[in-house]
Symmetry: C2
Subunit: 424 residues, 2 copies
């Protein structure tokens, strides 16, 4: 067994875990050779031998004693330039940096492929990395992926459901406790989930030529009302990243979804993440694991390093085949609609007429008695409908004089035909 | 990429799935070359070209055109002899046969190690195989494994809990529906779970020298009363295989356990299996997947074949280091006790005196009002206690004149110190 000599670029939240584990010397395949930091005099959670520390990338990328560079410094421009020049100098890479992979993946993967080098991506999935090796093995047979990939969103949604506290307040608390970043918009608006879904799409399609934008909606508009109505109807609301492949067509999006109580995905709490896979033989499996944190990311990166050391890394996309996504209007499914309507006679008739005109049939309607108010919620769930038809109906409905606000629309996931075989 | 030529030995429930997938020709790395069957004229679920079929092992093991033999014929003696002679002839192996691995593992792994060959073991874990590659990578850091590894037992226990139907009746129904074998004793008595735990122990300890027997108790004595009392106390009952490593000591056993509601393991229903891992950095992840079935096992075996084709197989134990297990008397934990006692004054005093003499303190007691009866249940849960102390107390308690039957004892799992960090 050849020992792989590792340089870690970055000594932040992720870097410190990787450095700590490598310094323990319990992994005979791996030896920490260098640490690249910007500020060598900064106080660290533990001290390291000064001769390990360098402040200049070039001391690592040009060092013939380094086999693998762990990129955990964050950012995109400098990180991309480090990765590319390390590759050119014959190093393999392990990274936890989703932004650099989604923004510069094309350049990075094509160079790595040309040079026969490896980019380890487990770190970008934190705890859920444990499915990634097998996913990359059986990529072609993956039929559906339903995944909770953002710890902050899942923390907020599950905390709202448990405590009845509003989105804004839970977010503020999460920020105070350090569970959410001060600017949490990448998390809340689904951008972080979209990045992970783009990386998964690249892995299972074995291409780095993936669309830079995918349909993406975050959780900013999910209200406590939605969570309570969903609960009443038998569902939890989670932010999902979804990939569905059928007959050569690929549908990809990030959205909140209603998931039936009693299923694995509905029961994922707090900052945990989960990936549920279905393959083309109908086999379903689901992994639940932490979505963030120093040690969960450390474990992911160490497993990448071990896979590279054993020549077993498989997960990197290696072709330039373009992925063409299905128009989101083509998807069929069931939907939850929360309208905000005037509390007056004939409203339901006006709305159901429009739905009927578009062949949309309702599975349930909830209209409660409210204290007199300018506008009241009217909640409906549809049977299977094509999204394009639904959007056309919604456009007309939202123009009605009796509809006082934009209607909230959330996909409903259920077991059954044309739906995922959700684990219960 | 070199194409690996595969022979499948066995055309039963598992074999037919592997053969079907290989014949579809969708996996460029793998080519089906031969199928070994006992009865060439038996009607099969689909027809295969006659020139693929052979009836004699030697036509496969001595064929230089075969690279990998998939052993899915079942049994132990013939299977072991096929595997050993295939290894000697330079073939790699993938198997789903737990019995052959636990009974002949020593010989098989030592020969494979000597010859530099690979034994793929994913098939023995069916759906839960997806964690096995990463488990074999990070084997040394695995701290605890809590696993539901038998689909039949989990089907019976979760069906009992849901329907209130007795163990005997659920088992009979499961047998009629084909979920359980006519002789289900290997499943129900925990033997199948123990085999999988032995294989996991071999993988994470990297040795094939594992104890042929581990402490093992099945679900035969779990009554509807136990399930109902557990529910009342906030727990589900599942059959668990457990591995705990601490300070160089390894505790291994198979037993029913009370698992808190709201955790991943408690929510695993029907014939699903689950593995929950905790590593020495405190990172916990859990996989839920089908515990049996043609296609789930097929996927596992195909992934083994792909790992072998890519030179990425890592999971096989390669050393002969003996594993010494902790005496089960040394484990500490909380326990559920269901005594069967005479309904008369002073009974509780007699029992609590014995418990007090052994420094065992109670967390809860449930004694309900019953219609006059010869004997009534008395349910208690203990605080943390050493199993040896508990057993000593139980021996005395069960000799009391007022105790009318052997006391049912079940471990209680909870998050917290000295307990697994169960995923919620």
């Amino acid at each position: 067994m050849k020992i792989k000599r590792v340089a870690v670029a970055g000594f932040g939240n992720v870097g410190k875990g990787v450095i700590e584990v490598l310094l323990q010397g319990q992994i005979p395949e791996l030896k920490l050779e260098k640490i690249v930091v910007k500020h060598p005099n900064k106080v660290r959670p533990f001290t390291v031998e000064p001769n390990l520390i360098v402040t200049d990338f070039s001391q690592v990328v040009q060092d013939p004693n380094i086999d693998i560079v762990v990129e955990v410094m964050g950012g995109t421009k400098d990180a991309a330039s480090l990765i590319l020049s390390a590759l050119r100098n014959g190093k393999d890479i392990a990274t936890a940096n989703k932004a650099v992979i989604t923004q510069h993946g094309n350049e990075i993967f094509s160079l790595a492929t040309d040079l026969g080098r490896t980019i380890g991506l487990r770190g970008t999935f934190v705890g859920c990395n444990a499915l990634i090796h097998d996913l990359s093995l059986s990529r072609k047979s993956i039929h559906k992926i339903y995944a909770i990939l953002n710890g902050t969103c899942n923390y907020i949604l599950s905390h709202m459901a448990r405590t009845g506290i509003s989105f804004e307040q839970v977010l503020r608390e999460a920020q105070e406790k350090g569970y959410a970043e001060a600017d949490a918009s990448d998390d809340i608006d689904g951008v972080d989930t979209a990045r992970k879904i783009q990386i998964l799409l690249g892995i299972i399609s074995n291409t780095y030529n993936i669309p830079p934008e995918i349909p993406c909606e975050g959780i900013r508009n999910v209200t406590m009302q939605d969570i309570q109505y969903a609960k009443e109807l038998g569902y939890a609301i989670k932010l999902l990243g979804i990939i569905e492949r059928e007959d050569g067509s690929i549908t990809v999006f990030v959205r909140p979804a209603l998931i039936p109580h009693g299923t694995l995905l509905a029961s994922v709490e707090d900052a945990n993440n989960a990936i549920e896979l279905e393959n083309d033989l109908g086999v379903v499996s689901g992994l639940v694991a932490p979505g963030a944190g120093t040690y969960p990311t450390t474990v992911a990166i160490i497993n990448d390093l071990l896979d590279i050391a054993h020549g077993a890394a498989l997960m990197m996309p290696t072709s330039n085949t373009p992925v063409v996504l299905n128009d989101i209007g083509n998807i069929r499914g069931r939907y939850y609609l929360r309208l905000t309507v005037k509390d007056q006679p004939g409203v339901l008739a006006q709305i159901t007429r429009i739905l009927g005109d578009h062949d949309i049939s309702l599975a349930s309607v909830i209209q409660k008695e409210w204290a007199p108010a300018e506008a009241v919620p009217l909640v409906m769930t549809t049977h299977q409908v094509k999204e394009r038809e639904l959007r056309a109906a919604l456009e007309k409905m939202d123009q009605l004089e009796v509809v006082k606000a934009k209607t909230m629309v959330i996909n409903i996931l259920e077991g059954g035909s044309q739906q995922p075989a959700l684990i219960r």
